[in-house]
Symmetry: C2
Subunit: 413 residues, 2 copies
Amino acid sequence: MALIIQKYGGTSVGTPERIKNVARRVASWQARGHRVVVVVSAMSGETNRLIALAKEVQAQPDPRELDVIAATGEQVTIGLLSMALMDIGVKARSYTGGQVKVLTDSAFTKARIVSIDEGNIRRDLETGHVVVVAGFQGVDEAGRITTLGRGGSDTSAVAIAAALKADECQIYTDVDGVYTTDPRIVPEARRLETVTFEEMLEMASLGSKVLQIRSVEFAGKYKVKLRVLSSLEELGQEGPGTLITFEEDIKMMEQPIISGIAFNRDEAKLTVLGVPDRPGIAYQILGPVAEANIDVDMIIQNVGHDGSTDFSFTVPRGEYAKATALLDQVKGHIGARQIAGDNRIAKVSVVGVGMRSHVGIASKMFRTLAEEGINIQMISTSEIKISVVIDEKYLELAVRVLHKAFELDQVPA
Amino acid sequence: MALIIQKYGGTSVGTPERIKNVARRVASWQARGHRVVVVVSAMSGETNRLIALAKEVQAQPDPRELDVIAATGEQVTIGLLSMALMDIGVKARSYTGGQVKVLTDSAFTKARIVSIDEGNIRRDLETGHVVVVAGFQGVDEAGRITTLGRGGSDTSAVAIAAALKADECQIYTDVDGVYTTDPRIVPEARRLETVTFEEMLEMASLGSKVLQIRSVEFAGKYKVKLRVLSSLEELGQEGPGTLITFEEDIKMMEQPIISGIAFNRDEAKLTVLGVPDRPGIAYQILGPVAEANIDVDMIIQNVGHDGSTDFSFTVPRGEYAKATALLDQVKGHIGARQIAGDNRIAKVSVVGVGMRSHVGIASKMFRTLAEEGINIQMISTSEIKISVVIDEKYLELAVRVLHKAFELDQVPA
């Protein structure tokens, strides 16, 4: 008998019929002897509807009152799911974030969890209840309603799992696990049995949007065992999903060198050519970009020569025009020769904790791309990933050849 | 400078534009130096939408979880109104019932208020805030969300007014006060400057649906000064509405004998003819009706003769068929000769605390109706009202001639 936290997102609870399906799945876990706490999001579309309503009243909604409004989305779902459970004979009880209580700081619309009082939940579990908790929300010290920001329900689930020292935190999504790459591009892509937290972080930030990155960080910090599962599979025919593990739990012999090929099409690159190679130049270029609230991803500065250097970075494609205009404004001030850019690029990465103990991964990656005539425009590396920027039109080809070159279509021995 | 509680119903806050109108009205009261607490309902249609959603998940929704869901309706409105106030430069803060806190019993979906902690509200008023409170809701001792049932927002407003010892509790509706009768039937109907609580109770229960009867009882009990006002009038051109007063506050010389003519078309009568005139017969007839949850309004039993009597009562028209079927079942058991009924009747009442000290009201009423050839089918009286049942087709005529006979179209001297 285990203590399981399950999290169902907006799509999984998007209609009364789907809520009933979730209830049946939860009931099947309880019937197998497990204690279950369910964390739910608002029904899909509901949070957007509420925010749009708020903006009709106040163009820039007051964040404290916006949270009061937004929190109602999950509150409706907890009531509905509890009813659906009772309707099939399962004892259930709902909790808002404030009722739990999930104490957060007072950063309205993007609050961070400070602590969780697990006493109420424990008491209900002991009397055989399924406990249904509103994700995404909490209360601050003053008792005001807060929300954790978009995707916060994953974080709520992980935090509750940590507080209750749960055996497993199951995140139900519309995919049946984490794949070596996107099966729409590489049909041979395989579901991974396990993936490490570090890899998952790289995968998520690189565009494999299975889990909210914040919740993965949180799970890593508090050693919560996370599993990604599908909420669409038939009851009784569920697969095992993908378990997100700690590196120290894995026997390295069994560990493949590379776990997956991640990619992101939503990128544009900007290059500032011929800037003086002097201290402070990176800040002078990126300062205005950060102030404009534009996320910068890769940042590359090469060794300079003749006292000047080139500086490149990537931004989300939707911010390309804005970022270009900003750089054109500061160009004279920073003494740059020219601003160049390209919004038809893509980023492809190989990810794997195994590369720490294996040499030659980078050269294998570069050779594989070269053999297909794919030019590499930028390179960036970390401990467990190598990312390259290429022309967007080669994206699918690059992912396919890399997936094959690293034998990701083969089940590890 | 007064402390004012204002209550706005679902229609008054039914759209973002109307919410902005409410904000301007609230601001105008604050600008005149008053401290204001606003109690709001869910946007019109929202509570019904939520209940329908709940019923899609569970045909007979669990009342505890239904309250969790239903309470979100008002929670959205408090956030929106607070935003609208801030948007026009008024400091505002929202409170759910639980945040106030409004402590209720645990009768989910029809809870009763036990106490109100007014500390938070007072603190915010002292710092110049308008306090916006969700009506219709509270929490029980265990911290579970409760609702007060339909129309409960009026009761919330009155209870908060009582707790804060407010100078006035203003109920904003879509009419500009309480009228001597329905102006759609009698164009000469006048707005009453004042009406007593007792009269208001009779008027409300007789079909003048301006205020929820429970809130009127509550206001009477806690001596809260209630005023009915229109939320549709232009700012700066508002009328005084109708003040609901305590009888002892009124100089009897100024008090008209009759305050209004109330009526109710939603009535049907049933008569059990020739039942044995013995103890317990009323219970034997009405017991099954009560068990079937049918509201009984007037009950009349006349003096019997020859050991048998006739027993009549009225029910809502929609329950007529059900009540008739029930009586047909018990007819033999109670030894009745016959069951008769009529669902084309209406009830007309004259209401006024003045009739206590004046004789001849009843005979004037009966004579007025007789002069028009209107037959009276049943009569029932209380301290401050006389009700008659007549053929529905004479309803408008009866209301008009009574309104004129009691000189309700004349402003009192």
